[in-house]
């Protein structure tokens, strides 16, 4: 390798390292626009009712023993790190389990006091449509558990901007610091 080329390569690798996204953060530009579901108050919920402010969204189910509580506690830490202003950003917990009723969802999300969360449900057609809009998936399977069917589902926390576009999503390895930083940047 020529002596002249080496500093150039070092510079390029330094710039590339600096540009690398934090682990678990995926920037996207995915227009969602609108969706309609049923809120945990039993009333119709439209995403457009939150237009003008960022929104976090997550698919899950209340009987999820590990993945959903793990994500919810990570979201709680993220809000704490992001500071008081971040509480204007609601987190939508979209249930992919038909067993989850609005009152159950309301009780479930209220447990995560640090998270300004709203539980959402709907008809299967409504839920399937939203899952498709976010490029997510779920599958209800009987694995022989006494707790009933297990629901395999996408574990991603979506960050939606004030215009209804998914700006980024965080996968299960994203640190709360990463989520908090992106939240603050959208305020």
């Amino acid at each position: 390798m020529s002596r002249r080329l080496l500093p150039v390569l070092i510079l390029i690798s330094l710039v590339a390292a600096g540009c690398r996204e934090p682990a678990g953060l995926h920037r996207v530009a995915m227009p969602v626009g609108e969706f309609t579901l049923v809120g945990d108050d039993g009333n119709e919920f439209r995403l457009s009712s939150l237009r003008g402010r960022p929104v976090l969204l997550f698919f899950g189910y209340t009987h999820c023993p590990d993945a959903c509580p793990t994500m919810m506690s990570k979201v709680a830490i993220s809000y704490r790190l992001a500071g008081e202003k971040a509480t204007v950003v609601p987190t939508l917990f979209v249930s992919v389990d038909p067993r989850d009723t609005p009152p159950l969802l309301k009780q479930y999300v209220s447990y995560y006091g640090a998270v300004p969360a709203r539980g959402l449900t709907g008809t299967k057609a409504q839920i399937d449509a939203v899952v498709r809009q976010f490029g997510a998936s779920y599958e209800i399977r009987d694995t022989g558990s006494a707790a009933g069917p297990m629901v395999d589902h996408t574990i991603r926390l979506y960050l939606i901007d004030g215009e209804g576009n998914v700006a980024a999503f965080f996968d299960s390895i994203a640190a709360p610091e990463t989520i908090a930083k992106e939240l603050k940047a959208k305020l």
Partner: protein, 145 residues
């Protein structure tokens, strides 16, 4: 002290020393504080097998839950997949961690109000017929409450 008593004490001490290498060690056992909306939660621990033979955890019972199952969570392409497993293998000399996002105990139909700081008893059943009685602490992960 007579020589015979001395010898007995030395033997007892040697046996006690040997027994720690002869049984499975359980550490860091904890249960996530359940969300009161649902009668389900998960338990975690580290199981160490210092023996020279493989052993498998095949069952767990607890007075705190009607059902305790062994579960495995896996991630593939952003999708979480959870399934019940019949056994958790702990190879000879190995340490297996049950932790959030991986292997765990699923506690269903809770019989007690599991408050943070309280203890949950478990009897772990292994494939060689042995059992281990442990107490796990109930706690909320960081960031909660």
């Amino acid at each position: 002290m007579s020589k015979r008593i001395m010898l007995t004490l030395i033997c007892a001490a040697l046996l006690a020393g040997a027994s720690s290498k002869d049984v499975v060690n359980i550490s860091d056992a904890w249960v996530r504080t359940p969300n009161p909306a649902v009668s389900v939660t998960a338990g975690f621990m580290t199981i160490e097998n210092p023996t020279s033979r493989a052993i498998a955890l095949t069952g767990v019972i607890s007075p705190a839950a009607a059902v305790v199952e062994l579960h495995e969570m896996k991630m593939a392409d952003g999708q979480m997949s959870m399934r019940k497993v019949d056994r958790i293998e702990i190879p000879a000399g190995a340490r297996v961690k049950l932790e959030p996002g991986g292997l765990h105990l699923m506690l269903f139909d809770l019989k007690e109000t599991l408050e943070a700081g309280s203890r949950v008893e478990f009897v772990l059943q292994f494939d060689d017929g042995t059992e281990a009685k442990i107490a796990a602490i109930v706690r909320s992960p960081e960031g909660m409450h």
